[in-house]
Subunit: 239 residues, 2 copies
DNA sequence: CAAAGCAACATCCTATAGGAAATAGGTTCC
DNA sequence: GGAACCTATTTCCTATAGGATGTTGCTTTG
């Protein structure tokens, strides 16, 4: 576990309405940031002690996270964090992203309000100031910005179902290797601006194509992560 | 006291490995079959008594169902079953289905094994014997058959992620009005066979188009359900 | 007669305890 | 020396009890 705070400091910042909700967000962050390593066993009691709550809300939060695909539950053996994406799963993910997000970009170009187009344009332009910060911090900021841009387009597409589906997919993306050098930030910004321009211009086919090209390029940028680190596939999936 | 003997009639047929899993399936069936009406409050204790288990596994199952979108949880007010789909949500659902399932049909046509094509062909042909049975029984059988056909194509498409996504969508479809006269069974069979033929022939564009046309027709067939019954939108969503 | 305030109720949420199963380690036998 | 068996520990899973909160119905007042 290796969590520094022994007892007094709580992980969750402020009580929301229900404790379970807070625990859910806390564990989700733990998994997303790989503080709980992928493929690792998750001890319910230990986690409950760590968060200073009873096992019950932890169990409930874990059940939700299982449906989200962030943890797995083997019937009589407890929970484990979902293993890292294999090369095949990663390719599959980006295939589906191209399909879904290409559609959202096209829909956004077709029927989006003027105010929405403005927001997209601003968001794409704001991608510049990511240069600040260093290392992990910089990477986290970049990832968050990218996620926000894609989610914004999904929101504007006018299909709540499509947006939810894509959001779910993005959670899976975080199961990818988080700590690999992100070299293509400038390229990403350029591609984002191309997409934004097509949407603002109302050119649906161009927006779709720009999005698909962006995702294709992003896939290529992520690819080296599979060669330079050990255990490319599922580390300890003994099921 | 842990292994309680079968008291009265139990809802779940046979213990799987974990009690929570059984409870999850039981509640899911209850919601799918509208035994728990859409938009209705779900009492945890009452449900636990009904299933003859403690509230804990019920709570855990409900958490999973919430992630599935079958129930909603209002922070300090308990769980409610998801309201019936509104017209807009229904249209949205079929838009996304056309996008996703059109893709699966095309992919199936492109790269599916000979054995898989055979299975699809058989499944499409087997759609005939639905004529037996009466009323609810017949409708349930037809729905199950339709779901199996679509799932089979998704499975053969070679994209696990796409298949999972579609499966999740189909759960939402069951939130639609379950008890409306299904008049277009023969049409459905014909359309299914057209799709199957295109996949067997390896014609991806034709398979995609056939699937999209099928879903478009199915949408039209379902449409009257919105006119002949009360509360077309969200009945009691006071959030 | 309507609206606001109050009180009782029902329900959810959290905590704790005990039983059952699987895993891991050591020992014994081949 | 290796493999299988047995035992002990750890962990999960289920059940029950108590505190806190939202909701509902009734009464009272304008």
């Amino acid at each position: 576990m290796a969590q520094q705070e022994p007892r007094e400091g709580r992980l969750r910042p402020a009580r929301r309405l229900t404790l379970t909700e807070d625990v859910y967000e806390s564990i989700k962050t733990l998994v997303m940031d790989h503080i709980l390593p992928p493929g690792e066993r998750v001890n319910i009691d230990a986690l409950a002690r760590e968060l200073d709550v009873s096992p019950t809300p932890v169990r409930e939060a874990l059940a939700r996270l299982e449906a989200d695909g962030l943890v797995r539950k083997r019937p009589l053996s407890g929970y484990t964090t979902t293993p890292l994406l294999s090369r095949a799963e990663f390719d599959d993910l980006f295939d589906v992203r191209q399909l879904l997000e290409g559609a959202t970009a096209g829909r956004a170009a077709t029927h989006a309000s003027a105010e929405a187009r403005q927001r997209i344009s601003v968001e794409a332009a704001a991608s510049i100031d990511v240069e600040a910060g260093d290392g992990y911090r910089r990477h986290a900021a970049f990832t968050a910005l990218d996620a926000r841009f894609h989610d914004l387009i999904a929101e504007v597409s006018g299909s709540p179902l499509l947006r939810d589906t894509i959001t779910r997919l993005h959670s899976h993306l975080h199961l990818h290797r988080l700590y690999f050098p992100v070299a293509g930030a400038p390229d990403t910004n350029t591609e984002h601006q191309r997409i934004a321009a097509a949407i603002v211009a109302g050119d649906a086919p161009a927006a779709t194509e720009a999005m698909r090209a962006h995702l294709s390029a992003a896939r290529e940028r992520h690819l080296p992560a599979f060669d330079q680190l050990p255990t490319p596939g599922t580390p300890r999936d003994s099921a």
